[in-house]
Amino acid sequence: MWRYAAKRVLLAFPVLLGVSGVVFVAIRLIPGDPAQIMAGQAATEEVVRQIRQSLGLDQPVPVQYLYFLRNVLRGDLGRSLFNGVPVVEELGQRFPRTVRLAVASMAVASLIGIPAGILAATRRLTWVDTLVMLVALVGVSMPVFWLGLNFILVFSVRLQWLPAFGYGTWRHLVLPSVTLGAASAAVVARMTRSAMLEVLGQDYIRTARAKGLAERVVVHRHALRNALIPVVTILGLQLGTLLSGAVLTETVFAWPGIGRLLVEAVLARDYPVIQGTTLLIATTFVALNLTVDLLYALLDPRIRYE
């Protein structure tokens, strides 16, 4: 296990280096001149040149990349071009909020998805199964931002039960987390169903049934435990999807996390913020995938020896 873990962790480093390269290059490919944006349209050429020099933009590109890497490793991601706040500070404030949203959505996804999948699998080929699977397919086909807007329409505008936007209390968390968790719940339900069906067809289940165990015990004690292994993997991978969806959900509900920060920064061409946000999101994504892989190996010893 330790050797496997060490290998996987080491393999993540070149990927992260690649990510930093992509982000660095991407930011420099964006049309427009950061120095000009910082200086404003009316600035003289002299001022623009000074800013360019202070940002290191007058250096050759490879040198700029090395500086960039050094700064990233030191935890220096520059400052916002607009309000001058250090990007690291801004991310530090907003990242926990996105994590909070993602974790709540993950809870929604598992609490709905796993029971729904078990239900569909145990009632295979009945109308219950068909209905659950159809709802799940509708769930993955729905644009997440549209679902959120519909929730606002029904629960905030019409019924006035929950706030439409903002951040703070648990009431602010309900609509965004259900919105964001819905599509993942659908994916989890589909996965749970197929994993359960696979396990329920195996010999040891027949043995358990043959020795007269109650169906409930067979399903929950014997089948579910093994079926949950792929489900856990899917849940982990869904966290990445949730980060993607957070960009949209946070925009719909004005949730002050990093997803909304990214969209705002892109619309305002705030280069250091775009850079910092994408770096943080991709790094989180890589770390999550790594954790899932390791967890999978821990749960299922067969993986380690492949």
Partner: protein, 286 residues
């Protein structure tokens, strides 16, 4: 001659299985409706989708305007019908870009192995390190907004999926006997890859492509909604939702219908893809 007939009958088998699959029929039906409205938009749309009529803005559905009007008094039904054309085109072309780049990369990478494979796979790893929406946003930020750039960005996002998928297929296929037989008969690498290996990956590729169009349409709509995709006043469903959001209290119908159109189209592709998977290869059933 005999070979042709066998290929045809394989197609007939798939078609028969497809017709028996409820999800495939339902999916095909939904897609038929949207494809037809996209193709025949100029004849089907009751009004000009860009003709504004400020006196009749944000009107709820009525006999004159079946789905109501938007903030400029434009007929919503007409805009949705034209939007179908746009979404179908965006989805198809974006996926075509993904296939055109991703499939050859996966084929060569899997077949050759070695340093080429190593480089391509690390590149794929890096692209997959970005959640798809984030990568799409980053790409349109570089390319600029607008229809063509959205298709390119969404297409690039799907490249790693295809490369991974095809490479995996090639790795298992190239060890099989029929490939060895072809090589023994003196077939070159190009011929083996394109004539013997590629056709055997088609079933998986077709299913993946159907599902990929669904996610491409969703991504494009998301970019439109964020204001980073197809721009106003173009009748694009995502962009329509972005303005509808401001009138959520006054005119909920402007919010409901374009979203419903996106959902149904994507659902159609997903249903059809599921049915296709069962018909082409029952072993792949999830």
């Amino acid at each position: 001659m005999g070979a042709t007939r066998r290929v045809l009958s394989a197609g007939a088998v798939v078609w028969r299985r497809l017709r028996r699959s409820r999800s495939a029929v339902l999916g095909l039906g939904i897609l038929g409706v949207f494809a037809t409205s996209g193709l025949l938009a100029p004849w089907l749309a009751p009004y000009d989708p860009y003709a504004s009529d400020l006196e009749n803005s944000l009107k709820p559905p009525s006999a004159r305007h079946w789905l109501g009007t938007d903030e400029l008094g434009r007929d919503l039904l007409s805009r949705i019908v034209y939007g179908a054309r746009l979404s179908m085109v965006i989805g198809t072309i974006a996926v075509a870009i993904g296939v055109a780049v991703g499939v050859p990369l996966g084929l060569v990478s899997g077949y050759l192995g070695g340093w080429f494979d190593l480089i391509v796979q690390r590149g794929v790893d890096v692209l997959l390190a970005f959640p798809s929406t984030v990568l799409a946003i980053l790409l349109v930020t570089i390319l600029g907004v607008g229809l063509v750039n959205v298709m390119i960005a969404v297409g690039i996002v799907s490249v790693p999926t295809y490369t991974r998928l095809v490479r995996g297929q090639v790795l298992s296929l190239k060890e099989q006997e029929f490939v060895e037989a072809a090589r023994a008969l003196g077939a070159g690498s190009l011929r083996i890859v394109f004539r013997h290996i590629l056709p055997n990956t088609l079933a998986v590729l077709i299913v993946q492509t159907t599902l990929q169009v669904a996610s491409a349409i969703l991504s494009a709509a998301a970019l439109g909604f964020l204001g980073l995709g197809v721009q106003q006043p173009t009748a694009e469903w995502g962009a329509m939702l972005s303005t509808a959001r401001q009138h959520i209290q006054l005119a909920p119908h402007t919010l409901v219908f374009p979203g419903l159109a996106i959902m149904l189209t994507v659902l159609g592709f997903n249903l059809f893809g599921d049915g296709l998977r069962d018909a082409l290869d029952p072993r792949l059933r999830v």
